[in-house]
């Protein structure tokens, strides 16, 4: 260590020691009869290269490595500062590539990879059922929850009838616990007299113990809470405790009213636990035994839900016993469930397509979010990987050109006695010096980028929260990418540079052209071509997604979406029932209508074009009512009296629904054009009669035909739609939560506070939810498309910029290498435009090659983005032409600067330079 800290001292030591040697040796030669002068010369010759000898002595010390590294870093920094443009370009391209990658990776990590914050998450297994056909099994008479279409066309769902849960819970040797839960969705929660909507989850008594969650305060829900008649208790999440109770320790023991039923808060869950579904974070957990009382909006099923084997609703997750594999558990449980399903089947049709039990790893939580976003994220991940590749190609190209420009410097260092390893180390240090700030800056970009991405994914979704913080996973990923890039692309040019034979490199002038250069330029061109090809893919992607978005925006909606305020009210959760509920909604409609600035107001049982869908069977006169299946179906909306007027949907025939269509009056229906042509082709639909759902054929009379409007989404074909009045009890179901639509004269959102006040005055326990304009609602259904168009455009611009930097660098370098040649050409009479064209032609050739390869790749990759585009083919010729055009123009602009510089070369100077 002395060597390191007393360097000047140690250096003096070394000098003195060598000096001592020279003097001894001189004396030695004098002793042999040489004169002083001669003796000294001979002694010095014996020592040889003093500096080299000193270097070897220094290398003998352990600290030499560190010392050299410090010196390399210092030298590298100075060298990089000398060419700020190169440094800035390299660091920036790396930072952008790495930043975008890390941001996407962070989000992907949260959604796909990160394990649940529970004890031994790898032991958890989610229980699903699946069938090979697209249709729901007939043994399922009703189903609430979710189901997914699998890639092979089959169907999968995590929802089971309660008897299946009891059976599997009580008879298995593979799980140490099997617990049940169900998302209740947003329920009306009121704390200290203040109502709001919050995500609630029903859980079995062993839910928390099975997951291994510990309470932050109080206790969690246990089996004794899940007995009918037990006192009603609730556990709140840590973040709900903070937002709603301000972290007040007195929260435990307080009462929260859920749908107007009081629950005592008995505990708070651990801070890191956010539920079993990433992306949704329930604020309140209640024993599952309370579900019938709280979930009144599922018709009559709740009376029998704990015994009905045909009602599929409960989700379950099990913890595998030690040593039991998923396959093993599957083999034991599947036959057990099959027997239950078989017993519950009533006829051959039901027996034909029975659901089979299917276990999945549960460690990352239930994965509806994963299913929803995995493909988009994969596409995004591919895009950022392209960007990183382009950025790396840039770095490689820049380092390559730089190493070549430094051939003379390296040759000088080698000839002065530096070892090859020593020079390689120096060049590598410079690469790492570039990679490090690139990585750090990238991390900053990632932090901002991932927040932005989550904001994009979450926009329009209520109760969406992802806990995405850059963690060590992401950090490791970034650092690996940064270092691998720096080392990989620092090493290749470095090895090439040190392989240079010293003599020709020293002699080399700008005029001579060693063969190695042709090779280098070949590699550099290859890099530029691949950059262009990758950029083309990104620009093409952007063009496709932007056109998709434009197509979606130009879809004819069929009603006037401008100046409409929408929001939800659910008085059923505040205790209103049946007739009182209808009256309440009708009164609210009436009150809103008289607010200054309101043109018209209505209520519907679902918002239009908001991915909501109500479907039911249609019973046509003459066709016998069939049981269960193969019934023709239709979509429907229950609407208020001023619906058509408010939404400005034109009537094509007959009348619209009005205030006289109430209980007691003949049941009236307005249908859309599709319904009329599907079910009454070639006939006048007016006056025709039909039945809906469980009602008898001929119950309803068509009183009007409305113009087609988009129903649940912009993308789907318009389904047959029946409009009925919610004031008539047509589906034998009371209205539940309603969406109100208010057409305003001016800005709709300006009325928000007025609306809240009116509702609060009428019923303080009914919260106003999801206040937004109709336009916002529609926009929310195309969030993914907007995200894609926005991100893709950003990516494309980024890729273009990086590729242009690459081409610019490559051409500028080529021009500087050819200064002599160009000088000679000009001396021989070449005109300036000719020189410009010469350079541009070269750039154009590179661009053309890149574009051609890119288009070929695009052609073969189109199927992978098929599901993301709308209204155009993925291999859209126009988009391809536009992308190729944009890219070529951008590249020509990038090449123009070096081209003009070439044309300004003074032939005299260029030739004299030799």
């Amino acid at each position: 260590m002395r060597w390191l800290f007393q360097r000047s001292h140690a250096e003096a030591d070394l000098n003195a020691e060598l000096q001592d040697y020279v003097e001894h040796q001189t004396e030695h030669y004098i002793g042999r009869g040489f004169v002083l002068e001669k003796a000294r010369t001979m002694a010095l010759r014996d020592v040889g290269g003093v500096e080299q000898l000193k270097e070897e002595c220094r290398d003998a010390h352990a600290t030499a490595w560190f010392e050299n590294a410090v010196r390399d870093v210092r030298y590298g920094r100075r060298a990089l500062c000398k060419s700020p443009l190169f440094t800035a370009m390299a660091v920036l391209s790396l930072a952008l590539g790495i930043g975008a990658n890390t941001a996407i990776y962070t989000v992907m990590d949260v959604i796909m990879l990160r394990a649940l914050p529970v004890r031994n998450p790898s032991e958890l297994a989610i229980v699903n059922w699946r069938v090979k056909t697209k249709k729901d099994p007939l043994v399922i008479h009703s189903h609430t929850g979710s189901s997914y279409t699998e890639p092979d066309g089959g169907k999968m769902s995590p929802d089971f009838p309660w008897p299946a849960y009891e059976l599997l819970r009580d008879h298995n040797n593979v799980f140490s616990t099997l617990f049940a839960y169900q998302r209740a969705g947003q329920l009306n929660l009121s704390v200290r007299g203040q109502a709001e909507m919050e995500d609630v989850e029903f859980v079995s008594g062993n839910f928390f113990s099975g997951l291994g969650i510990i309470p932050a305060a109080g206790r969690l829900i246990t089996d004794s809470d899940n007995i009918a008649g037990a006192s009603q208790v609730a556990v709140i999440s840590y973040s709900y405790w903070h937002t709603r109770f301000g972290g007040d320790s007195a929260a435990v023991g307080q009462t929260v009213r859920i749908n107007d039923i009081p629950f005592a808060i008995v505990g708070i869950a651990a801070p890191e636990f956010f539920g079993v579904t990433p992306g949704s974070a329930p604020g309140v957990y209640v024993p599952i035994v309370n579900r019938p009382a709280l979930a009144r909006n599922y018709g009559n099923e709740h009376d029998t839900m704990f015994i009905d084997p045909h009602f599929y609703w409960v989700d379950m997750m099990g913890r595998l016993r030690p040593g039991i594999t998923l396959d093993h558990a599957q083999a034991e449980l599947a036959p057990r469930f099959e027997r239950l399903a078989l017993t519950s089947a009533a006829n051959d049709k039901e027996r034909a397509n029975l659901p089979e039990l299917w276990l999945e790893q549960g460690g990352s939580g239930v994965d509806s979010l994963r299913r929803q976003y995995s493909k988009p994220l994969f596409v995004l991940m591919t895009m950022v990987a392209f960007i990183l590749a382009i950025a790396c190609a840039n770095i490689a190209n820049l380092l390559l050109a730089r190493a070549h420009a430094r051939r003379r410097e390296i040759a000088v260092r080698l000839s002065l006695g530096a070892s090859r390893l020593r020079v390689l180390r120096q060049l590598l240090t410079e690469s790492v010096l570039l990679a490090l700030p690139g990585g750090i800056l990238g991390l900053g970009i990632a932090a901002v980028g991932s927040r932005f991405l989550i904001w994009l994914l979450a926009s329009g979704r209520q109760g969406f929260s992802l806990h995405a913080e850059l963690d060590w996973h992401v950090l490791a990923f970034t650092v690996t990418v940064a270092f691998a890039t720096g080392i990989l692309f620092g090493l290749a040019p470095a090895i090439q540079a040190t392989r240079a034979d010293v003599t020709p490199a020293l002699k080399e002038s700008r005029a001579s052209a060693p063969r190695a250069r042709a090779h280098r330029i070949g590699l550099s061109r290859l890099l530029v071509i691949s950059q262009v090809a990758l950029s083309l893919l990104l620009v093409l992607g952007a063009a496709l997604f932007v056109r998709t978005l434009a197509n979606l925006h130009s879809v004819e909606i069929g009603f006037n979406q401008e100046n409409v305020l929408t929001f939800g009210l659910d008085a059923s959760q505040a205790g209103y029932k049946d007739a009182a509920l209808k009256t309440f909604y009708a009164q609210m409609e009436e009150r809103f209508r008289f607010v200054p600035g309101v043109i018209s107001a209505t209520a519907t049982d679902m918002p239009l074009v908001a991915n909501a869908n109500h479907g039911t069977g249609v019973v046509l006169p003459g066709s016998a009512k069939q049981e269960g299946h193969d019934l023709p179906t239709t979509s429907y909306v229950s609407v208020g009296p001023k619906f058509f007027q408010t939404m400005q949907i034109p009537m094509l025939a007959g009348r619209s629904l009005g205030p006289h269509d109430v209980d007691g009056a003949p049941l009236a229906a307005v249908v859309n054009e599709v319904f009329a042509t599907t079910y009454f082709p070639g006939r006048n639909p007016l006056g025709q009669r039909f039945g809906l759902g469980n009602s008898q054929a001929g119950d309803l009379t068509i009183v009007g035909v409305a113009k087609n409007t988009r129903y649940s989404s912009l993308k789907d074909a318009i389904p047959p739609v029946v409009y009925i009045s919610y004031l008539q009890n047509i589906l034998k179901r009371p209205p539940i939560g309603m969406t109100f639509e208010i057409r305003t004269a001016a800005s709709p959102l300006a009325l928000t506070e007025t609306v809240r006040k009116i509702v609060h005055d009428a019923a303080p326990t009914v919260p106003v939810t999801s206040v937004m304009t109709q336009t916002q609602r529609i926009d929310n259904t195309i969030t993914q498309e907007r995200t894609f168009a926005g991100l893709c455009t950003a990516f494309a611009v980024l890729a273009l910029a990086i590729a242009c930097i690459g081409l610019y660098g490559s051409m500028a370098y080529a021009v500087s290498r050819r200064t002599n040649e160009i000088g000679i050409r000009m001396a021989l009479g070449a005109e300036r435009p000719r020189i410009i064209w010469m350079v541009l032609r070269e750039a154009l050739a590179l661009a053309a090659a890149g574009v051609a390869i890119g288009l070929a790749c695009a052609w073969s990759a189109t199927s992978s983005i098929k599901s993301f585009v709308f209204g155009i083919k993925p291999a859209d010729p126009l988009a391809m032409v536009v992308a190729a055009g944009i890219l070529t123009v951008a590249l020509l602009i990038a090449a123009f600067a070096p081209a003009t510089r070439a044309s300004r070369i003074d032939p005299l100077n260029a030739l004299r330079h030799e």
Partner: protein, 109 residues
């Protein structure tokens, strides 16, 4: 001049340790002594000698001290350490084995 390639790899270390085991010495004198003791056969130039000395010092087998030499000038004297003597024993044993083995083959008549 003899370059280290003339010596079998590692033997220079052995020679230095052996010479320093007799008495502390400064760099030039070590080179002289090697030459003397080998009857002018082995000549070690400063280009090999000093890096080897610094390496041995770093390894802890020898240590250095500035002192006044026989001519009254300050010089850097190297002396062997305890670990150095241990090392010397090992190296000597190894050398005996190696040189014996080589002699057996080369001098076989």
């Amino acid at each position: 001049m003899s370059r280290p390639t003339d010596l079998i790899q590692g033997t220079l270390d052995l020679l230095i340790l052996r010479i320093l085991a007799l008495q502390p010495m400064h760099g030039w004198a070590i080179g002289e002594r090697i030459q003397q003791m080998s009857k002018e056969v082995l000549r070690v130039g400063p280009g090999s000698l000093y890096p080897a000395l610094h390496k041995l010092e770093q390894a802890g087998w020898i240590e250095a001290e500035w002192a006044v030499n026989e001519a009254g000038r300050r010089a850097k004297f190297y002396s062997i350490t305890k670990e150095g003597r241990k090392r010397l024993q090992q190296e000597t044993a190894g050398w005996k084995r190696l040189s014996g083995a080589i002699s057996d083959i080369v001098l076989e008549s």
